[in-house]
Symmetry: D2
Subunit: 438 residues, 4 copies
């Protein structure tokens, strides 16, 4: 069989001392830690769009990478790409992939033709996935690239465009179900506004909710048992995207009664664009029972756009995996590498270097997060810090057994009250370094 | 009677051609426009803390302004300050004021003593307000300055501190009711976290909701008919404040069943710190039926902290007043000048210059917003833009009469669909300039 | 002759009351104000790339606008585009245009072919310019789009790429001279780094200076009398661009002895991306004798990338024109509309709406800036504020006639000193509104 | 002798496995690595202001920490503070301290009185320093806290204020020399503007340069052999601070002929406020021969103000120490902990936890930076990347032996050129993790 990456061998775990750039130093897929194999903790997924399609173009420059897979006909490219994806996943020991409809097959002149193309490639991917033992983490529809969506898809000002988006979602749901997908994502790249001067925000958000209800109804009717996810992002390409951050999405889901079917797909770079840390967004999702899946990447603190870099900061991956472990691990979700090569990383092996860096980065994060839990000092500090709410007046507050009058009487009797102990931030940060580097 | 601002006369409307710095050029309080006097449209309010207390100190420098009102004893300062506030409001034709408990009277050694001081000054303010025909727009409790709140108030890790905060809120509610206040604000300056390493976010937010429920119950029991407001702010002084922005607050209110009693108090500078425009936050509040009151100020686009500058950008005030007018105007809320003098504006007349600039800035905003509505081109454009949702498939979508299957059939029959018209952003921006400067 | 914009008439000045969207309300090109026609004050220029080439694509979506000018062959498109540009400039009364080499003619397979194409289109533009009475404000070379420049051009790690860039600059200089251009711009879209891990910053900056010296030497040898400009931009597409802001460029020019030949081309949106106001960057350029030309656009305060919107904020255009007037007006430079249509403004007339909005926006800015100068209050305030430096100890300081010992003696004798007067920011901001809206 | 920190023992190195919070795990002061003791590599310094004076107040809250050192009279506080500083430095094995004049002694009613107080405490510090073997890393004058500096010090609009600042600098220079200080810092907290509406930027910057020239002349006349430093900061407390970043300062120093006497004091948090990484600013300083000293702290990526946190991010400390090692190590400069306790870290031991975290954080950074150099892969990659400039056309370019005509001929002969190799960012980031965690 033809190889699309002949220069790169299968990547194996060689341990922390290895100098082989084509090896894992920290990711050992079948090593059992905390009761299950690393691969089940991490559920790494290839993002078909970045991994197989993106060419390194940016707003100021054309593509630098060849993504033709030895073909020139668009459908032949799509077929070869599917084979190449399997080879890539095999060599990197990736078990899952995520896709948009338009990643796997090119649009045709009409919706009929487009759907026929999807049928063909969908069938091919189904066969290849069975053969290579790969699964879909989640599927989605690309409702942002085509000019028809310039004003939005579910939030378009044009009802025909809304209908077209609905049709596209229907097909993407069918593909996801056919490929055994465990999730379906809404990322609303154009669902927002460029200027409030031309926008009816109320109608647009109502319509978006209508579309999501239709999607849930249809998906459940064809047997989809997985989770729906909204992926928050504050802006870009829009001036304002309605799904700004985790809390904004929770407000939306609660308003429209969608919170039973939807969880969140949290992306690191979207968190930072919204003015939050990655851990913050994960924590908000977790304590609201909505931590579904994760787009594993990172942004650049100095840059105001989505750089989608591969995640290599071990502080971030550790704190991320801490939240995942505290949530009980993934159920339907996983870690999808929504990360793209730098434009200048144009050579074939760069994709391997990059995915190795992200997989080892998160493998380190998992190992370190488990060390944090085993060490126990951080958790014990937090428990101790809030213990006044477990007895006396604190327990009454938590149990809802008191009111302002009683609390005033209590406070008047005390006269004054001082904070009991330091927040100890510096001490706790030192412990974290101690665990990471000790 | 002694004057605290002898160098400044009563400020009167003199029209746009006046060169008198101590006059209004655009604010004519009793002029009837769009059916009611400007003063009722705008409901301007003095922020007691910035107007009467703040001394110009910043993180790198001590106070530059004298706020002793000719006294040295703290209680005498408080008494004189109340008189000075009335003089200031009289001279500027301000009808309302907003206050924290600690603005009007200094803390004592114990809660008893503190409350006794509040009783005295509260009574004085009640008498002076009656005499000068002033009203409280809203009251609130300062739960951020005292070291006891270093870890939060309603979200403190210490139950005794929670109890103390509850007692302080009870008293502030009583004061607000006594002074005829039409609103009560929660601004959670310390309700957030410095580091997730020491924080139990779930418990903290649950406790905050418990405190708000207690406040509602108590306030209604003593006859408070007004609105509760949460004032969103994303950060500062905390690393993360739980009431990040309007949407985050809506998620919180819906989760905890507080959305019937609470509306939002939107501040311009807090909007921009959260990564939004002022108009965006107002619009989000409006379409969710939660636009309660407004903290009228502005930030600095280049600065990442709350500069609380006086609002003089007429684009911003126009778009703000458009949202207020679209919401049907204020009911219990108004425009509170939560704005402080620059540190170098240390002389007595600067406060007058500043309030004149803000009042004229918003008077222009009101006049311009009404011009926008009279002109009609912007509204007509938006109506026309979404008209496909008023008939045919669009009407079915809005009425909930369709589903993915039907929409797919519709789209397949069309084959393709293109956007009907341009978003016309540049044209609309040009119209806005035409209205402002034409 | 064929028209490329048949639906749009010639745009004429109709005055502020006109409701005709295809008219100027504030720009009256031949109206004499402050001693010369508005067109000479403003020297408006079409940016060939945005105006004639950009299709509305963004990182998440393909082009929405047709820029084929009725042709399919790339060279025929280029020829038609040149005609269309003349029609556009004629209809909008634009006197100047700016271009990159690659805007006017497509690259060929080799540099020879590419240059031959430039020769043809350059000749055509020369003829058309003479016929239509148009001039080049400045020319430049596109050293960022082609993958060969992925690591930089003048700062590439590859000497061959440096050579190629040098060749491209040589040709662009020749074209600029041939078309009577009065300026030549260096905008270093790729001259920076993605990561310091792979970068030799010292060598890269030395090389950039070498390239600029070569450009100056060659240009002067072929008779170029105009100005060289560096256009500061802090980032995007790079993580860090070496020409971060005006001050950074001044440091570079002084280090390498280039400050005699180079001035700055200040762009509004690049200023805000660097954390400055537009006026700040203009002022820095002005007081250093380096205010050369201006890229007239605006960014979005909430967005961290170069949105290149049309400039319609009259506060900004007023403060910009104040700096231009204080610098004595433009000599070789002008106002180039480096602004692009929003992606959803895809229809032919949108380009006219947009340029009208920018031209009227700056016409208002010029009129308002002149009002500020005539009013005189702002300038008088500043003069008065610093008057202590015109006599006594202040005059000695400015004249360099004193030292620390004398100043200490002076201060010891005073014992203490207090600030003489308020900074009066609020008062001054109010005056500005008074002038704009009075 | 009385102890001010009786609850904390002397901090000793106990190795990476120690769980004793009052130990160093990575900083072993007298361990020789790369040819000299760690203490000489790192030259850690206490910042007197944050360490001994700051009370935890912020814009929304009063102080939480007791800094009275058992006294109530300001001068007795100052004396006790000096003793406490020595105890703190002894216990933490800190060899250096930095100070502002106002940190060590309180201002009096007149300059005479103030200077007399400085004389007394200066003498005490001289004796204590000799006894405890401590040195001054650098001294400076506080020209920002007192209201007299509200409009600036060297850039004040008031000549008397300029004179007062000059007198204060003179005294601070004398103190620095008396205490054996090896550096003198200008940090211009008020040297900038709040609004351009009231500012003469040209005069202000000229005056600042005049003041610096006077300072150099005087200091050299009294035997100061050390370095002058400007500490860049972009803003806060001002809207714009003239010493925005390293490049801006270089432009200023070159313009005014101050570049021989001045180097830079780079602060991590100021770098990030200016939109740069810490490493970027260090690298800019290094390649311009201006890397003088370092203020070791960190900011918060989500916050727009100077949080001055203790530096614990080992990626940052590693890349910082790489730049220091590449510059040949410190000469007169060192690592000054310009970092303050979080407001809630109010207890006595927190200062020890915090300094331990910073010292161990930088000790790790030094050890890791040396590992990077020993590993050699990063440096080799960079050398290899630019090798085309060591021969042929590249060598000619670097040697200044070519011109545009020759380079064009070279490029025409090639016809086209492609980038030779990938930038390999992901691979290099992976190597860094490999070194840190391998």
């Amino acid at each position: 069989m033809e190889s699309y990456f002949p220069q790169v061998p299968r990547i194996a775990y060689e341990g922390a001392k290895s100098k082989n750039p084509f090896s894992f130093r920290f990711y050992n897929p079948d090593e059992i830690i905390a009761g299950k194999p690393m691969r089940e903790h991490l559920r790494f997924s290839l993002a078909y769009w970045h991994g197989m399609c993106a060419g390194g173009n940016d707003p100021f420059g054309r593509a630098t990478m060849d993504r033709s897979y030895g073909a020139s006909d668009p459908m032949q490219i799509a077929r070869n790409k599917a084979h190449a994806a399997m080879e890539l996943m095999d060599k990197l020991q990736l078990d899952f992939f995520c896709f948009h409809d338009r990643d796997i097959a090119p649009e045709g002149a009409t919706l009929q033709e487009t759907n026929a193309r999807l049928d063909e490639i969908g069938q091919l991917l189904k066969e290849l996935s069975a053969e290579h033992n790969k699964r879909v983490l989640w599927g989605t529809a690309n409702l942002f690239d085509n000019p028809r969506y310039m004003h939005g898809a579910g939030t378009s000002c044009d009802a025909d465009v809304f209908a077209f988006a609905a049709a596209q979602i229907k097909k993407a749901l069918e593909l996801t179900v056919m490929l055994g997908g465990q999730g379906y994502v809404f990322w609303g790249g154009r669902e927002g506004y460029e200027t409030l001067l031309n926008t009816d925000m109320a109608l647009e958000q109502d319509n978006m909710a209508r579309l999501m209800h239709m999607a849930v109804d249809y998906a459940r009717s064809i047997g989809f048992k997985g989770d729906f996810y909204i992926e928050p992002k504050p802006k870009e390409p829009t001036k304002h995207q309605y799904d700004f951050d985790a809390s904004t999405v929770l407000a939306f889901l609660r308003k429209y009664g969608l919170d039973k079917d939807f969880k969140l797909n949290i992306e690191a770079n979207h968190a930072t664009l919204a003015g939050h840390t990655f851990q913050h967004e994960l924590c908000v999702a977790r304590i609201n029972g909505a931590l579904g899946s994760i787009d594993a990447n990172r942004g650049d603190e100095q840059l105001g756009w989505d750089t989608d870099q591969f995640p290599t900061n071990v502080y971030d991956t550790t704190l991320c995996m801490l939240e995942v472990l505290r949530a009980g691990g993934f159920t339907n979700g996983g870690l999808n590498f929504d990360a793209k090569l730098r434009r200048a990383s144009w050579q074939g092996e760069d994709l391997f270097h990059a995915l190795i860096s992200g997989m080892d980065g998160f493998a380190l994060g998992l190992r370190m997060a488990l060390r944090v839990l085993e060490d126990g000092r951080l958790d014990a500090f937090v428990r101790e810090r809030y213990q006044s709410f477990t007895t006396g007046i604190g327990a009454d507050i938590v149990a809802g057994k008191t009111n302002l009058q009683q609390l005033e009487a209590y406070a008047l009797q005390k006269g004054e009250v001082a904070p009991r102990q330091s927040g100890r931030q510096e001490y706790l940060e030192n412990i974290l370094n101690d665990i990471l580097f000790g």
